[in-house]
Structure formats: C-alpha cells, structure tokens
Subunit: 392 residues, 2 copies
Amino acid sequence: MNKQPLFDVSEYQARLAKTKESMYRQGVEVLLVTDPANINYLSGYDGWSFYVHQGLLILMDQAEPIWFGRMQDSNGAKLTTWLNDQNIRGYQDHYVQSNLRHPMDFVADLLKEFGADKRSLGVELDNYYFSGQCLESLTENLPLASIMNANLLVNWVRLIKSPAEIGYMKMAAKIVEKVMAKAAEVIDAGVREGDAAGEVVKAQLCGTPEFTGDYASIMPIMPSGIRTSTAHLSWVDRKYETGDLVLLELAGNKHRYHAPLSRTLIVGKAPTALEEVAKGVIGGLEAVLDFIKPGVTGEEVEGCWRNAISGTKVVKESRMGYAFGLNYPPDWGEHTVSLRPGDKNVLEPGATIHVMPGVWLDEFGFECSEPIVVTETGCECLVNYPRELIRK
Amino acid sequence: MNKQPLFDVSEYQARLAKTKESMYRQGVEVLLVTDPANINYLSGYDGWSFYVHQGLLILMDQAEPIWFGRMQDSNGAKLTTWLNDQNIRGYQDHYVQSNLRHPMDFVADLLKEFGADKRSLGVELDNYYFSGQCLESLTENLPLASIMNANLLVNWVRLIKSPAEIGYMKMAAKIVEKVMAKAAEVIDAGVREGDAAGEVVKAQLCGTPEFTGDYASIMPIMPSGIRTSTAHLSWVDRKYETGDLVLLELAGNKHRYHAPLSRTLIVGKAPTALEEVAKGVIGGLEAVLDFIKPGVTGEEVEGCWRNAISGTKVVKESRMGYAFGLNYPPDWGEHTVSLRPGDKNVLEPGATIHVMPGVWLDEFGFECSEPIVVTETGCECLVNYPRELIRK
C-alpha cells in the first residue's frame, strides 16, 4: 500500500532513538505504548480505533516498533505508519470486548514470539488506554517479566517540538484565530447555543483557504450564564440572552497538533466585578508572557502569576498552564509540565505551553489564555488574537 | 444552585436500585463507577472533565451516590446532578496529573470516612477511565478491602432503555437523518474533504428547527478511496475526485444519547464489484431486520446475517452489530451485546442495537447500517433514510 506518514522517516527514527535512550536510563527493556498520541508520535498511526485496545511494542533490539491492534484496523496501520508490513500485527475480532479473552493476552503472545517475555516491561500505568485489566492480564500471562511503571516516558520525549511539529502547530493557530472570530461573530442574544457551537466546529474543520483542519481532542467548552462557574461544561439547548457571559475554550488542530485558545464573551454590558477580574487576569497573563524564557521552572512561572494578581480581585487555586501539542481525545494536554507550585521542570526552547489562567468563581468565570512556544530568548505566542473581554 | 438533571429523580433512583440489586447478586458492597456514561446514567453528571480522574461511589447503605472529581468541576456536579451538595466531593488541584499523589488516594480516604474501606469494592476493571494506576493505588491504600472486577455492571443495567431514553434517541435519529443528507449533498468531485466534514459536524450540532444537538462520542468516520479499506480513518486534506468511494459512519446525539448511521457514497460510476457487495450487504441487513425480535440471541442474529450473505460476494470476519446508547468519547457502543458467534445474550424489548454490517476488503469497503430498538414483537428502525449506495 501507498504509505502516507506525515514526517520524514528520519524524524520518526530520531524520536524512537530518544525513547530508547530514556528506556535504557529507566531500566525498561520493552516498552508497551498505549497512549494514542505516543503511538502516533513513534509510528505515525492515526485512526479513531483507540476505543479498542491497540499499541506499540518498543524492543531495544528491534529497529522498528511493532504495531498491534484490531485486524480491521491493520490496513489503516499499513497506510498511515512508516513501519514494514510484517511489523503490523492484527488480532482477531473475538478479542474485542470479550469476557473470554483480552487483547493483552495477544500482546503477551507477541512478546513470547520475540523472546521478550522475561524482560523488564514498561507500561503507561496511568494512561486512559491502559486499564486495570490490561495490567492484570499482563501480570498473569507474563509471570517472568518485570512490569514497571513507565508512565509518561514518551510524553517527556514529546515535550520539545521539532520545527516540523511547530509548523503544524502554527497551522492550527491560524485555524483557531478563525474559530474564535467565528464564535465572536455568531454568539448573540436570541441565537441558539447549539447553532453557535455548530459554526464553531465547522470553522475548526474548514480551516483556511490554504488548508483544512482536523478534530480537536476536546469538543468546544462554551458554557454560558451560571454554567461559567465551573470549568468543563458545553453548550445547552437554549438561546443566549442579554447579560449572558460565555466562556470559550476552543482549539484548532492540524494533523493532531493543537493550538488551544480561551477568551470570554459578554452579551450586553459587563458587570463591574467581571471588568475587574478581566483586568486582573489579562494583566497577570501578560506578566507571565514577559517572564517566560529558557531556564525558568513551572513553579517560577506560577509565582510570577501569583505576584501579578496579588492585590487584584482574582482568586485561583488551580494550575495556570500546562504543556500541550499532539493528542487524541479526551485531552490535548501532555501531562508533563504544569505551571503550579512544586513544578521543578525547567522550560527549554521548543517546549509548547498553554498559558491558561482561567478562574471559576461561584457566580461567574473568566478565561483568557495564550498558547506559546519557548524560544532561545523568551517565548513566542502562536496565536494573534486580541486579549480582551469580547463584547456583543 | 439551580439543579438541571435531565430525567425525573425517580428515574435516577430506579436506575440506582437496579444497580444495587446487581451489586448484591455479584457480592459487591461498594461500587466505584468511573465510566463517564455510567456516572451520567446514575447521577446526571455531564461535563468534559473525564480527562481527569472522577467517578461515583455507590454504597449499599447510602441513598445517593457520592460524586468525586476535581474541585473546579464541583460546581458542574452541583448544576447537572440530582445529588445533595454534601455528596459532591471535590479534590484539590495538587492531585491532578501529579507523580506525588493520585486521585484514588483521595477516593480511599473517602471510603475510610464512610467506614467502607474493609468491604468488597467493585471496580470497572477494563474501562478507559480506570487505569492500571487506579488499581495499584486502591490496592495499596485499602489493604483490608476486597477488590473485585465489576466491569460493565452498570452497562448491563443500561441495556434496556426507558421511554424517556428512547425519546432522546429518536431526537438523535432525527438529527442523523439531517447529518447524512448534508453529507450526501456536499460531497462531490472538487470539494475539500475537510470542508465536507465541517458541514457534517455543523449539522450534528445545529440539529433541527425544534432542538439542537450534542457532540457524538466519535468524530465523523469518513475515509475516501484506498482509505475505505479499513474501518476507522477520517478525512484528509485533499479534494474528492471522480471515482472516489466514501464511507460515512456518522451519528446524531441528544443529551449524550446517540443514533449512529452508516452509508456509502460513490462519486461517479460504481464498479461492478462494489454494486455486488452493496446488494449483498443491504440484502443481509434487511434479512436481519426482519429476523430480530424478543428472545433471539446475539449469535442467532449473526447466523441469520451469515446465511443471508452466503453465495454473495460479501466477506466479513468482524461482528455485525452491538448495543449502543448513552455515551462519551471514545465510543458510542455499550460493550455488552455483540452480534457475533458465541454471543448468548437474549434480546429483550427496549434494547437498542446498531446493526452494522460494514465490510472492509483490501481494495475498498462498504457500509450500510441501521440503529434499532427491540419492540414487543420485532424491532423498530429509529432512522428513516434510504438503504442504498449514495450516487453523486
């Protein structure tokens, strides 16, 4: 079949080499990769098949990852990965959602075939796509293997983006500028929230005249009214009314790479309390954007934010940013760097961070964020969109 | 706060009672529910917060479930569930994606608070949202509890839908009729695949003049050309060309209840091989729709399909249908009944099944499906859409 991977094979091989170096340092001889973003990162595989068990096996002595998944998805692996066909291993349909056998039984057999069933086996222990039953099946089927927690091993390799990856993220950023502008255009009193959401998702996929977009890993978060008092609600079946506050946490996506962006919209006149919170949050955000440069830690960035908002009306307990990039549902965050107290990770050029100072008070919320890439001397905003309360 | 649950409290209480009966039969004294669909089913909770650990604790001696999740999502739980505020327990942000502490440590503390840390604890062992690390954390923190596999316990309670649930699914069915018609209208030679996908998702959310839609748990599956040889690919950044075959696996959604529907579209003249496969699949589908009635098993339905396609050009190894309904990403299937050999589950009135005879050959694929509800005497198709190859 005609292979269609997105990056040069040399880029995949460099990622694999870095992964093996990290495996060696952690004493992992075989790595079982089940996070769909990590599968994509190392092999190119792309498909909505992560609702069944699938993954990669990375063996120190094999030049390529071994892909495993459902038989009917094997052709998808042949089309989208850089792997040789003999490294694409489909399992029969009787493994799917069965209480008689589990796909990890198949994986254990694969490891035996490669003579790797007595080695140290790293697993992504807290990933959505590595269930408790995966752990139990492997433990039972591989009594001589030493199963280790290699959670986030590949995510940490993903932290620093290549120029090609930054290129896709800048395409996603162009898309999210159009998405946010569309939301600002269509939301108004008398408009159904679902109709506005429909225009938003259409803008995500239609992209720009030069390129179309891909689905974001999180559907539009766009609560209104009292529903803005919390972080993760979507639209409901009602019409916007004058006085409604609307949170907009949206994203563009190109080739699974995100550019997330948050803004807040008010239909009608803004209450004074909202104006004050908006001013405090935007001021704090801009202080942080000035502060970020190579060498600072996640907690130092959060400290800069905390200083900037002291004396304002802003109250925030949760983290104010996180690493992001390539991903699949249910999250676009990378689960590595978090901008919060205790985070000692040092930012380096090529890291991409969603600086996301959202606040959710009991009566209303406010969000204004920027996705950035750390540069040699500071940071660059990927998106160009006014940092202000959107007024309709 | 003003509660906004979707069903009468009595309906939630009936679901909880059935769940407790099933717990009793299985010897489960405490059930930890982490599947977002099961959380919604029992509590009403709805939000895109399942990317962090959250769930319900069902205790035999408590009248309501205990909701736990991230503090910033607590207001969302207060708004969307029928639970009393004291049963909504938010954890601090330092539990989120931390390598120092895990949200299941918080859950273990909750169980101690309720004096339930020495009981039998059922967990959804193979759910996406119950990771290997959840299992390890609970095992370490609750040495006196007996941890049991209660995977799919609530999913089986969900199998038979109430009239109110069927009502939402019929609304979703009205939406998917419009979604499929929009796909058939916009896909044509020279159109960018991403633009067509944008119109499809817009149609999903804009719904009908009477009601708007919600996001489906799977983004549009709509591969073209050689990409139809496999089951789960989406659009790419190219224009459709004359001769392209396009698979369309789409859904409508209302209040998280789905109506999935598959059709196949050809741009230009259909090759004879495709015409033959289409005829075979549609004939097999219609035989199955005539056959389904209360009392038949999943494997008997599949046997009817296998008989109907014998002698045609259709080859199919994978299951030809599954239970569906309420769900969140990454799947709209319920992981209970599968129409395949060995499935001994007996269909009963109120069960909702996606009869999905998709075939993916090495050169091309073909799909034509129907979502149905089992009635007292047979089955009812939820969707009204012509069963034929769509020709452009």
